[in-house]
């Protein structure tokens, strides 16, 4: 007679429960390097995203050393060359080396991206924490403002804002920060509302902590995890929005080599002759955004246990 096994028969189709069949995971090891090793093993896609992000940051930081040529000076004699050994990505209509322009473009994207997300997080922290912590009328009023803010289509608001404040590196960063803030503030508000009545908050209040101390010592440190996750994904969004804006001609103005701008204007006129002009900037944008999205996804799984494995 066959011995009865304790494990239930494995289920398939819509009743499959992979999480029940997987062997129990060992508890997370402590320490940075161990955590990193575990992250790479458990989230290979996230690790790929992380690698892309690190390479991007590295390229942006070391652009002057890495770029073989200058981004804004070209030799007329070299114009519209295909990929060669001296110009691996070819040259544009002004004879400028595309590889160097892509490398410098990383610096533009990263500067705008980090600036915009930093601004968005600061603004969103203020609105989200105040709204959720105090609740009541403050919440109702602030949330209606956020409603209004969220109701503007991104590109429309961006183009209009940049048209009003004038183009430039900082006005693009500012406009993007203002655009990203309301979504972030909703997330922060949500997690603050969730923790408002938790025991440690009550305990702190009973010990006589004032509002300022409560917010600085107890509320803000506890929203860091969702904020880091969201900021990672938003870096991707910001880079995408920046390139769209540059493409439409309202981004970071020349001579800065913005990836989006390389796909429009003079670049566009010569794409029929030299299609590679349209390939590299688009690939660079897609890879950068893909990297931040993948990393953000994996970080969310790791930092937010409720969403694990989704």
């Amino acid at each position: 007679m066959a011995r009865a096994t304790l494990a239930p028969p494995s289920r398939t189709g819509i009743l499959a429960r992979p999480e029940l069949e997987a062997p129990l995971r060992r508890p997370a090891p402590r320490g940075g390097l161990l955590w990193l090793g575990r992250f790479v093993r458990r989230k290979p896609l996230g690790a790929i995203g992380g690698t892309i992000v690190i390479v991007l940051l590295f390229v942006a930081a070391l652009a002057p050393l890495l770029a073989p040529y200058e981004y804004d000076v070209g030799a007329g004699i070299d114009r519209l060359q295909g990929p060669t050994i001296s110009h691996p990505f070819g040259t544009d209509a002004n004879g400028r080396d595309m590889l160097s322009r892509i490398i410098w473009g990383a610096r533009v994207s990263i500067t705008v991206g980090f600036g915009a997300v930093g601004m968005s997080v600061l603004l969103a922290m203020a609105v989200g924490v105040l709204s959720a912590y105090f609740g009541g009328w403050a919440d109702l009023l602030l949330q209606r403002i956020v409603d209004v803010w969220i109701s503007f289509p991104a590109v429309v608001l961006l183009v209009s804002l940049v048209a009003v404040i004038g183009p430039g590196l900082w006005s693009v960063t500012f406009a993007l920060g203002v655009l990203l803030a309301p979504g972030t503030s909703r997330v922060i508000r949500g997690s603050v509302i969730g923790m408002r009545n938790l025991p440690y908050m009550e305990a702190a209040r009973c010990l006589g902590a004032g509002h300022a101390r409560m917010i600085v010592r107890h509320v803000i440190p506890n929203v860091f995890a969702p904020v880091i996750v969201l900021a990672t994904v938003q870096l991707g969004t910001a880079i995408l929005a920046e390139s769209t804006l540059s493409f439409l001609g309202y981004g970071v103005p020349p001579p800065f080599p913005a990836w989006g701008a390389m796909l429009s204007g003079t670049g566009r006129a010569f794409m029929l002759q030299s299609p590679w002009l349209s390939i590299w900037p688009g690939l660079a944008i897609s890879a950068a955004v893909f990297g931040f999205n993948m990393l953000g996804d994996a970080l969310r799984d790791e930092l937010d246990p409720r969403l694990r494995g989704r």
Partner: protein
């Protein structure tokens, strides 16, 4: 349901008023010498003072706002500085183009994202699932304007074929209109589908673990009926919320794609207006887009009642 409806409708009013104020302020935030700048660009008046009184900028700001709102409520969005035509007439002409593009994009997006999202959840952690998930993130990452540029450029390099660049109206020649609209609509839909696909999958995973799905499977319902009729309907509510929010992305997408595919819609009108600093047009378009988005989100909230009886009776 009535209380829910009433509450939802009441909340729209302050949002709309706030919106109109922001749009109105946007133009008044102009750098100081906007009037002088406008004088150079348009022969609209003899001197700065006459310009100010013609534009109504010499009166108190509250009066200006009330007057502008009065016009808006009567359907009068002002006159374009550049073409001297009524902004509302121009919008009326251009609205069908953008609406068609937006609706087609939404349909394409749903046709891609819902089936793929559901299959990805039903076959969780299988190869199909991994492919679908990577695809979703890729769709979120590839800029629509790049796809658009490639679609316009590469076929003409390879096969000497370009998408038709002269706009034909839907009623004049539906087939020609479709050949023109389908590429931008595809690109718009692809951009939309990434986020929707991911949320559909996440929601389906949640719902498939509910007891009523087990019950449905246990009483012998076919798998497709369990998945598509019982599970999907319940998983769809958050997806609908996301769709409401995605309308903003849809609008942004139409701005970009109309400019690449040379479609005479509202998005291109905005870009032209911004280029020529045609402020009444910018103001009107911003207001219209924002109102459309607010009303879509209202519609989404009202759909909850239809999808989820708990909302109706709660």
């Amino acid at each position: 349901m009535h209380r829910y409806l009433a509450r939802r409708l009441v909340l729209v009013v302050p949002t709309l008023i706030g919106l109109s104020m922001v749009v109105f302020a946007l133009v008044r935030l102009l750098p100081g010498d906007a009037v002088t700048m406008l004088m150079q660009d348009y022969a609209y008046a003899k001197d700065a003072d006459e310009m100010r009184s013609k534009l109504g900028l010499d009166r108190p700001i509250a009066v200006q706002y009330v007057e502008w709102m009065g016009g808006v409520l009567r359907g009068d969005l002002g006159t374009s500085l550049r073409s001297k035509t009524h902004v509302s007439d121009e919008l009326f002409k251009r609205m069908p183009v953008t609406a068609e593009l937006g609706v087609l994009g939404l349909i394409v997006g749903l046709l891609i994202s819902i089936p793929v999202g559901v299959i990805s959840a039903v076959r969780q952690d299988k190869a199909v699932d991994y492919v679908a998930r990577s695809m979703a993130i890729a769709f979120l990452s590839i800029p629509g304007f790049w796809l658009g540029t490639l679609v316009v450029t590469l076929p003409s390099v390879w096969w000497q074929w370009t998408p038709p660049l002269r706009y034909t109206q839907l009623i004049d020649d539906p087939l020609r209109n479709m050949t023109q609209m389908i590429l931008p609509a595809l690109i718009l839909g692809i951009g939309l589908s990434g986020g929707v696909m991911r949320l559909t999958r996440a929601q389906m995973l949640e719902v498939l673990r509910q007891d009523y799905v087990l019950t449905a499977a246990a009483k012998g319902l076919a798998e497709w009926s369990t998945v598509w009729r019982h599970a999907l309907k319940n998983a769809f509510i958050p997806v609908l919320t996301l769709l409401g929010l995605q309308v903003a992305i849809l609008v942004s997408g139409t701005v970009v794609l109309e400019s690449i595919f040379v479609l005479p819609g509202m998005g291109r009108y905005l870009l032209e207006a911004v280029q020529y600093r045609d402020y009444p047009v910018i103001q009107g378009l911003n207001l219209l887009f924002a109102v459309v988005i607010v009303l879509t989100n209202l519609l989404v909230d009202l759909c909850y009642g239809w999808l989820d009886p708990r909302v109706r009776y709660g």
